[in-house]
Symmetry: C2
Subunit: 352 residues, 2 copies
């Protein structure tokens, strides 16, 4: 994945950066916030890995597309969506750091007007709601610069809007889960993972890249399914790393999913195969902050004892098999089939 971003990431990052800086300058006469917000979105965007955009260009290349210009435009728009949606996510999740920078709402807290009568938290949140909104409208302005034919542009505009809305519906489900005292059943969590991560991060770029290369419904449907498989495995691996990963690799404290009371698939599966007594104990541990070491150990022991790792592995296997079969049938050169295989291998085994 890092390799993939290494190949295409820089091109996307440079293009997006130029676009944002241009818009900031072009409209600096409106007020001070134009340059301010485009600058913040730019700095936050270039800190990302550009995996979604890179996947789009890879897909376009492997279907021998020659519309690099529009691929880079849409790839950059997807990355700007990602940045903007993270700005809102960080307000919602009260996260302080993003891509090595203070989260945008934290940045704004620091520039509250001198002698302000209000509180800095509400000021920061309010400005960050606006910054995310501005990012959304900027990405659509970028999309309006596509030079593809009218049918192609319309299809892409409609598709991204539908999928972006779906990310939001998934986020709402996630918020509701987060505030809820009970853990939803595994199938509901899987459906949330697919809406919130898999479809938009994997299916969408794969489909758009191929579509811009002239591919038709049958192939697009396969790529959509492939994206769901890969994205689901990616998210499940995230659950595992939250318990078994190394902090310096995963970028968050081990066990933080437990201490934050996150309703992960791993935790839901664990509850579903526990005795009532253990279940109660686990539910008490979930959301405990700070999380005592012995509680984290207890959760790990329960995972080992319960056989839930086997269940996770079988979901991963199932999805990897489906992905493998789709990749095998894709009408692409062996070189690209190998890249996809190695990508899917990386996703299932990644340790960061």
């Amino acid at each position: 994945m890092d390799k993939l971003s290494g190949v295409y990431g820089k091109e996307i990052s440079r293009f997006l950066s130029e676009f944002l800086i241009k818009k900031g300058k072009e409209r600096s006469g409106i007020n001070q916030w134009v340059g301010d917000v485009t600058g913040r979105l730019d700095r936050l965007s270039v800190g990302g890995k550009m995996t979604r955009g890179s996947l789009l260009i890879l897909s376009h290349e492997m279907f021998e597309g020659n519309d690099r210009k529009n691929s880079v435009i849409v790839a950059s728009a997807l990355e700007l969506f990602q940045t903007s949606v993270l700005v809102h996510d960080d307000i919602i999740d009260r996260d302080s750091v993003r891509r090595g920078l203070p989260a945008i709402h934290k940045q704004y807290q620091k520039i509250i007007p001198p002698e302000s009568s209000g509180e800095s938290i509400h000021f920061g949140d309010s400005m960050a709601v606006c910054a995310g909104d501005a990012g959304f409208f900027l990405l659509y302005e970028l999309l309006s610069e596509m030079t593809a034919g009218p049918e192609v542009s319309r299809f892409i505009m409609k598709l991204v809007s539908r999928e972006f809305a779906r990310v939001v519906y998934g986020e709402m489900e996630d918020i509701y889960f987060g505030f809820s005292a009970t853990t939803p059943p595994p199938d509901e969590i899987i459906s949330c993972y697919i809406s919130k991560t898999a479809r938009y991060s994997f299916s969408l770029p794969l489909v758009i890249g191929a579509f811009l290369a002239g591919q038709k419904k049958e192939i697009l449907d396969s790529l959509e399914k492939l994206g769901e498989n890969l994205g689901l495995v990616y998210q499940i691996r995230d659950d595992e790393l939250g318990i078994y990963g190394k902090m310096d690799l995963i970028g968050k404290p081990v066990g933080s999913d437990i201490s934050e009371g996150k309703k992960t698939l791993l935790f839901s599966l664990l509850l579903s195969c526990c005795k009532t007594e253990d279940r109660r104990k686990l539910e008490k541990i979930s959301g405990k902050k700070p999380l005592p070491k012995k509680d984290l150990q207890y959760v790990k022991d329960m995972i080992d004892k319960s056989g839930v790792k086997g269940k996770m592995d079988s979901i991963i296997r199932e999805n990897m098999e489906s992905a493998g079969n789709i990749i095998l049938k894709l009408p692409v050169a062996p070189k690209y089939r190998a890249i996809l295989d190695s990508l899917s291998g990386y996703i299932s085994k990644r340790d960061k």
Copy 2:
């Protein structure tokens, strides 16, 4: 203005409502929030006066356009933008009521999961951030259903995205003003009024309606200017009503602009022509909640004494004159010129 909405408002409202209900049903399989959020956006939208959308269709008609279908699509998209941006505004301004309904963040506070461990305010705000975001993506999906030619669609997509972003930049300036202890000079407030209200509420619909009727740059530029004139007068009249209006007509307590410490043009002009001593006293009154009757009376007296009403009137007159001259030169039938004249008369004299 009410008359204008009476003519076209129902058509827009019905179309938008049908779109939202259709999207809610079409994607109900994703999760419970699809139907939930489209329903809330629908109920909030239909409570609006549809003035922006109506202005768009009026403009289209007066230039003898025959693309009613696309006019209604874009008019509905503008109204959905308005609803969605209000959802975010109400979080920012901590308003509780909107268009006779509880504000969306207030609505969500009531459905926080039972036995939730978090606080309902943050839950409500988080869900409402998402609801506004969903509205934005839905309106772009609606725009992608335009059947106008590729150049027309691209022009509109680009124009609305630029203007929507400008509304956000204006909102940021407004937030910053609101948190600031000092009142900005009149020209900065006028520029904020133009960005936040005038261009988007008046210029944008006038320009799009004419553009869809095939009008070219010269006319579009005139309409842009006309919209800025009318919008500015509209907003200035808002300032006056906040002090001199009748509560049951303006829908908020008289003097609330003062008690909320709003940095209105009226207040800024007042400060700019006061002696230091009075200025200090006025700045102390601004933001006082509740506002004692004698303080409101003091502000009124100062307005009368300072001659600031004359200044406001002269800004209004200047903009009305400019508007009148533009209307006079527009190549439209006398019937429509009369409608525009009566609209601009209404705006400058309205009492609600």
